[in-house]
Symmetry: C2
Subunit: 411 residues, 2 copies
């Protein structure tokens, strides 16, 4: 009994933290409740199953299935459902009419072979990436409606009356969904994507600073250590951001003009920026590996490169933060050129510092064996760090260019 | 007209290549067609909407919605649907009974508030990761069934009879799905995951070899160049493999014993191996960046490190291929220890080669300015390559350990 109680409480705590982290999730639950209660009350006066074939049921079903977290998701499913139901219904009634004209023997053959062919073709078409991204849900509904109508035992004139009622109910369901979704604290997929991209940029900037600071400061293990390490791991969220970015960009396409975002806002630019940021994150993962590896560079080498490396990481994280804030405000940044210039200066300084290293190496006084070992170890770490840093640079500038492009096109 | 025709033909070509690449997708389409036709024929004799409330309709709907590409997906949805329908139905009948006892005024209030509360809570619970992974579909069905039953205008005894019929129909739908899914060319999510992991390992091995060869061979631009470059880009598929691995491991958990996989096969081990491989792929992305950067090391430096680098990349790709084939055959490899030993030898050789570099640098005869420039450039590339290589090593061994673990646990 105790384990069950403790499991329930730990589950409750988990749910509580999820709700506290993002209250919109709780609000979403409430919104679904509101929409369903509305549709139930709407149909409470006329019972659900009243001879016509339970049409009001379709309104409830529509609300349950169509209501999504974002407005874009709701629109995507609603439009798909409406269009798929009407086209599949029309097609099925047509085939039904043909079948009913061709005699009692041919009728089941025509109907079931048409179900077989259309279901197979439609199912296969879901594997085509473009169609999957935009019409996946619509195709399910298409198959469903077509089979239901084609297999039903009604005559064509009955079907037409039924179709009219059903399309009405589905329209009511979709309308209730959209009204609740848009009016009660709407969550826009486009805005989510926008925020996700700029938040990820901030995370990258923090991590970059954090990683380099961690590396060069870990001789002075101060109390700030833990917070630094946590901060420096933020880039890990960026590594696997592709799936959520793709799906949000997909849904954002369905959304109308809202807030600062126009109807044809260039959402695919966000995907390009996202890919560039992922590339940065990959480099930082490699950098993280170098920093935490067993081989550590000797102190005097580190000291030689410390200042310039710190300046470079600070410079590039400034660039990232500036880009992120200019994405947030959707304005072109004035200081970005200056900051990129500073960053490039830092890159050049680092190259100069690296150039002066071999001389230091040959002149450094420690016993030769130790010096040799130091040489390898230094090669293992410091250049790796700096090289990774310089590798990341062109990417940052590419990202900044992309963002400027997206700003110009979008607002 | 011409553009429409050309669009249709290009679409047809695309569909054709998808079908040719993976005939199982075409077969899946045919399977859905078969299942739907079966269920239609099953119910063709009794028309779908015949007073009981269109119960046969639920069989068609079940088939359309439950039928998935993999057996695991089919089982996941089928079990979720069956369990959710019966629990939600029972609960709703209970609340209906309570409401009917509490007078005509209280009845709508009790019913609609219960719909509101349960729908809100269930929708929120979908945001909890564990629940989302296993019961996402079930919760949708739970909300749907509960609202439908709670809002319906039936008396309790009618509802019980209805529920019996409906659960029967849904069971028939699920049974038809499972029979067709398992008997006609089944696709097992577990096997897919297994193959995906070993295929990704092969890709990593090929890319590693390809990248290093590309780098050291690009002075002799032979006709093989293009094929090498294509081969070396295989690791890019591994970068974003997380989503598909996660979903397949999720579905594989629902599958019964099949082929070489037992009921409690350690699917989560595959996720760990996948994460390790993704880490390798990140390192290779960084490596690729170094190799394709503008800074190129001078020829004599490259020549100095070429043989040992090639040996290292060959050694580690051999290790990867050996692991991949031992995963494929699910047998512990005998030669893996030897190969890992060889790889580690190559790492040490590389360290020795790096140690001898600074001497070469100071003794090399080219004019001093050029030598200095060469120094930076060399630092930019060769050590980066080698460091990335050595960074990747511990990971390979970690992956190999993980795979051995998974083999021992899994059979």
């Amino acid at each position: 009994v105790m384990t069950v109680v403790s499991k329930v409480t730990s589950f409750g705590k988990k749910a509580g933290t999820i709700g506290a982290d993002d209250p919109r999730k709780v609000i979403h639950g409430v919104k679904v409740g509101i929409a369903l209660t509305l549709v139930s009350l709407f149909y409470y006066t006329r019972p659900l199953y009243d001879g016509v074939g339970g049409c009001a049921m379709w309104a409830v079903m529509t609300v349950v299935v169509v209501f999504e977290f974002t407005v874009g998701g709701c629109l995507y499913k609603g439009i798909n459902r409406a269009v798929a139901t009407s086209t599949a219904g029309t097609l099925a009634v047509g085939i039904h009419w043909i079948a009913s004209k061709s005699g009692a023997k041919m009728e089941p053959i025509i109907l079931s072979s048409s179900v077989f062919l259309l279901a197979s073709a439609a199912t296969f078409s879901r594997f085509i990436p473009n169609i999957k991204a935009r019409f996946d849900y619509g195709i399910t509904i298409f198959i469903l409606t077509f089979s239901l109508v084609a297999v039903s035992g009604y005559r064509v004139d009955e079907l037409l009356r039924l179709a009219q009622v059903r399309i009405c109910t589905i329209a009511i369901g979709i309308a209730i969904c959209l009204v609740v979704c848009v009016l009660v604290r709407p969550v826009w997929a486009g805005q989510e994507l926008h925020l996700l991209v700029s938040r990820n940029m901030d995370k990258l900037a923090d991590s970059l600073e954090g990683l380099v600071e961690d590396y060069f400061m870990n001789d002075k293990k101060v109390e700030g250590e833990v917070s630094y390490s946590q901060r420096s791991q933020g880039y890990k969220n960026v590594l696997n951001s592709k799936a959520s970015e793709d799906s949000q960009a997909n849904l954002a396409r369905w959304e109308p003009r809202h807030g600062k975002f126009g109807f044809k806002h260039p959402w695919c630019q966000y995907l390009k920026v996202g890919a560039a940021m992922r590339y940065c994150a990959y480099c930082m993962e490699a950098l993280n590996g170098c920093i935490n590896s067993e081989f550590q560079a000797p102190e005097h080498m580190k000291r030689h490169l410390r200042d310039v490396c710190m300046r470079l990481s600070l410079g590039s994280s400034k660039v990232l933060k500036e880009i992120s804030s200019s994405v947030k405000s959707m304005k072109e940044s004035r200081s970005i050129q200056v900051l990129v210039g500073e960053m490039n200066d830092a890159v050049e300084e680092l190259q100069v510092a690296l150039r002066s290293l071999p001389k230091q190496l040959t002149q450094s006084p420690p016993p030769p064996a130790a010096a040799e070992a130091a040489t390898i170890e230094k090669r293992h770490c410091v250049p790796a760090v700096t090289i990774s840093l310089t590798e990341v640079m062109p990417l940052f500038t590419a990202a900044s260019l992309l963002i400027e492009v997206s700003e110009r096109v979008g607002g």
